[in-house]
């Protein structure tokens, strides 16, 4: 079911509605603005997960001399805290972003098949 996007249904931090008649400029598509904001959130999540996971595993999981093997819930502890916990955390963050942050923007109407509506256009 497509949800119709209200022109004010934009992330508050990026909303900026301009009148077309005043500025003469076209209004940026709300889906684009929301998608860009959400993409930055996703990138931040990605980078945070990468930095934490790789750093933790490098510090505690790479073989130094006389390293004692410790376990947490059956996993080597460095795997549990360096991979399993971040994985669960990312799942939670993904859930929050997808259900509560991402906007249900309308994808818009579908264009007619370009090959039915235009003359043939060879290279």
């Amino acid at each position: 079911m497509n949800s119709t996007s209200d022109s004010r249904d934009i992330h508050p931090s990026v909303s900026k509605i301009a009148s077309l008649s005043k500025s003469g400029e076209r209004e940026e598509d709300p889906l684009l603005r929301n998608a860009r904001f959400e993409a930055f959130l996703v990138l931040a999540t990605w980078i945070t997960a990468a930095v934490y996971s790789v750093t933790y595993c490098r510090l505690y999981g790479y073989l130094p001399e006389n390293q004692e093997l410790k376990f947490t819930f059956g996993f080597p502890s460095w795997i549990f805290f360096g991979v399993v916990i971040p994985w669960l955390s990312c799942a939670l963050v993904s859930l929050v972003i997808s259900l509560f942050v991402m906007k249900g923007d309308s994808l818009g109407a579908e264009s007619d098949d370009s090959l039915l509506s235009e003359d043939s256009d060879v290279l």
Partner: protein, 559 residues
């Protein structure tokens, strides 16, 4: 006393491993069930295809995919999930969890970075294929052709390898056949009539149901095998951990069997190589999500989604699915190292575990067969998806665009069928005498495809100033960079890092070639875009601004 008992147990496991497990009737029955289910799904899909125009129905499922279909099929897990990846865990140990760790962000990156924009743009342009999306967005037929050629080339290599994997699986389904290796680069010795028979049967089955149902047939069979794989892995992990005496004991036993490197980074390797040094650990945290969100097969699925809510729901469904696949699979393979420590070929790990762990269960043979049929299903689904993408590229972007723009629906249907049959025959012919280093070529093709399309896809979605020439430069630069690094690596010696393969890249500064490909793609795409004529404002506005028929009534515009 405990040590002696453990030694006896290990000896018992080794004897089992030495025998190599044999398949039973169960696997054959399970494969037959998979094939029947796939053909049935293909027939169902055909009914949906008939509801609208052939092109949109056959290649895009009428843009009606729901969250489950998108989530469980967007990443298009191949047989590699069940064969190559377990082999790595068995070989190198717990460090592979970090190697695959970036799958924790694959759901959110796969859908959250570009999902909504791709879905929107494909509707605004009316695009049915990825090359068409590029063509319409940048108003460049040449760009469309370039994208089409690249996609068809890369995916053809990947698909041909999957045909071989499918043929091997069919061959070993015959009762009493000894499981040797399910690897795509498993050697085929001389003239092997069972392999050729398996190849023919596999080709007829997959091409057949894809021909009938098109994109939806590919998606639904992918969904079906994804569910089977999930259930199979869940069952295996519940059996494997107790059999190994618990996960902690499994690790301790595996360390005894191999060395301390099995439990630590950079991973265990008898030849002393570092499987995952820090540079590669960083690289692979970038690699998997990047190749995921830019893969042509994945993007087509996003184009086919129903609405934005489908994309949102797909994210958490895929999160749950990945959690249920990858971490349990790692646990199974660690247990395998304890239970069957000396497998001749590490690709045998899942088949051997499946047969061994279920042999005492009621209907154990059938259960093992269903588990072993999961990689078969994965291979079928991958081939089917690639067939659709390749056929759509050739039919829509070459035949309909260039050769016969006035083509009727009947002509398009015949062209699609003809293309799929031709591609299937080509794949069979190429596998009669399989190319040496085929698996290596597959890996290289995957890297090239990723490096070619990551940056152009982002440019397509978010950069107004991007030009057709800039995008072409980005595609070519990415592909050439990866190609060059592989060529240098092939000519040079073993760097003793990463996976031990015959055809390996040159790891410049220890970094995966894909990253260099993306860097060069970014530089080339940016510079060429900036120094070429900007696209027409009106054209750009169509893709980036609110369209006139979507404007709210004037009284709701805030002054």
């Amino acid at each position: 006393m405990f040590f002696n008992a453990m030694n006896l147990k290990l000896m018992h496991f080794e004897l089992l491993a030495a025998e190599n497990q044999k398949t039973g009737v169960g696997m054959l029955l399970a494969l037959i069930a998979f094939i029947v289910a796939s053909v049935w799904l293909g027939t169902l899909a055909q009914r949906v295809v008939k509801r609208s125009s052939f092109v949109k129905g056959f290649f895009l499922g009428n843009r009606g995919l729901g969250a489950w279909a998108i989530a469980l099929t967007a990443t298009v897990q191949s047989g590699g999930t069940f064969m190559g990846f377990p082999s790595l865990v068995y070989s190198h140990g717990w460090i592979v969890a970090l190697w695959i760790g970036s799958y924790m962000v694959v759901p959110i990156t796969g859908f959250g970075l570009i999902g909504k924009r791709i879905a929107q743009l494909s509707r605004r342009t009316g695009a049915v294929t990825m090359p068409e999306l590029f063509r319409e967005r940048f108003d460049s037929p040449i760009l469309g052709v370039l994208a089409s050629v690249m996609i068809v080339t890369f995916m053809s290599f990947m698909m041909i390898a999957q045909f071989k994997a499918g043929a091997i699986l069919m061959k070993y389904a015959w009762p009493g056949t000894e499981i040797v290796s399910f690897a795509e680069d498993a050697p085929i010795k001389g003239f092997d009539p069972m392999f050729l028979l398996g190849l023919a049967l596999f080709a007829i089955t997959v091409v057949g149901y894809t021909l009938i149902g098109g994109f939806l047939a590919a998606v639904w069979t992918d969904l079906f095998q994804s569910v089977m794989m999930f259930l199979g892995i869940l069952l295996l992990v519940c059996l494997a951990i107790p059999a190994a005496g618990g996960l902690e004991q499994a690790t301790r036993t595996a360390v005894v069997n191999t060395g301390p490197g099995f439990a630590f980074g950079p991973g265990y390797a008898p030849d002393g190589r570092a499987f995952l040094p820090l540079s590669l650990a960083i690289s692979f945290f970038f690699f998997w999500p990047s190749t995921g969100f830019s893969s042509p097969a994945g993007i087509v699925r996003i184009m086919a989604c129903k609405d934005t809510n489908t994309i949102r729901h797909s994210i958490f469904l895929l999160c749950a699915y990945n959690l249920g696949i990858y971490l349990p699979l790692i646990c199974i393979c660690v247990c395998a190292r304890a239970i069957v420590p000396n497998l001749a070929s590490t690709d045998e790990v899942i088949p051997n575990m499946a047969v061994y762990l279920t042999k005492d269960l009621p209907l154990g043979n059938l259960i093992a067969g269903l588990i072993l049929a999961a990689p078969f299903g994965a291979v079928m689904a991958t081939v089917s998806s690639y067939l659709v993408v390749i056929a759509s590229g050739l039919v829509r972007d070459v035949y309909q665009r260039i050769i016969n723009p006035q083509a009727t629906e009947t002509q398009l249907k015949r062209a699609a069928w003809g293309t799929m049959i031709a591609v299937g025959i080509l794949a069979v012919v190429c596998n009669i005498q399989p190319i040496a280093f085929l698996q290596a070529i597959v890996v290289f093709s995957t890297g090239c495809a990723g490096a070619s399309f990551i940056v152009p896809t982002v440019m397509l979605c978010y950069w107004r100033r991007a030009t057709a020439h800039g995008v072409m430069a980005a595609m070519i630069a990415g592909a050439i960079t990866v190609l060059t690094l592989y060529a240098v690596g092939f000519a040079g010696g073993d760097p003793m890092i990463g996976n031990a393969t015959a055809f390996r890249p040159y790891f410049l500064f220890g970094i995966e070639p894909l990253l260099w490909g993306v860097l060069s793609s970014t530089i080339a795409g940016t510079i060429v875009s900036v120094f070429t004529r900007p696209p027409a404002d009106e054209r750009v506005s169509k893709w980036f601004d609110k369209q006139p028929d979507e404007l709210p009534p004037t009284e709701t515009i805030v002054a």
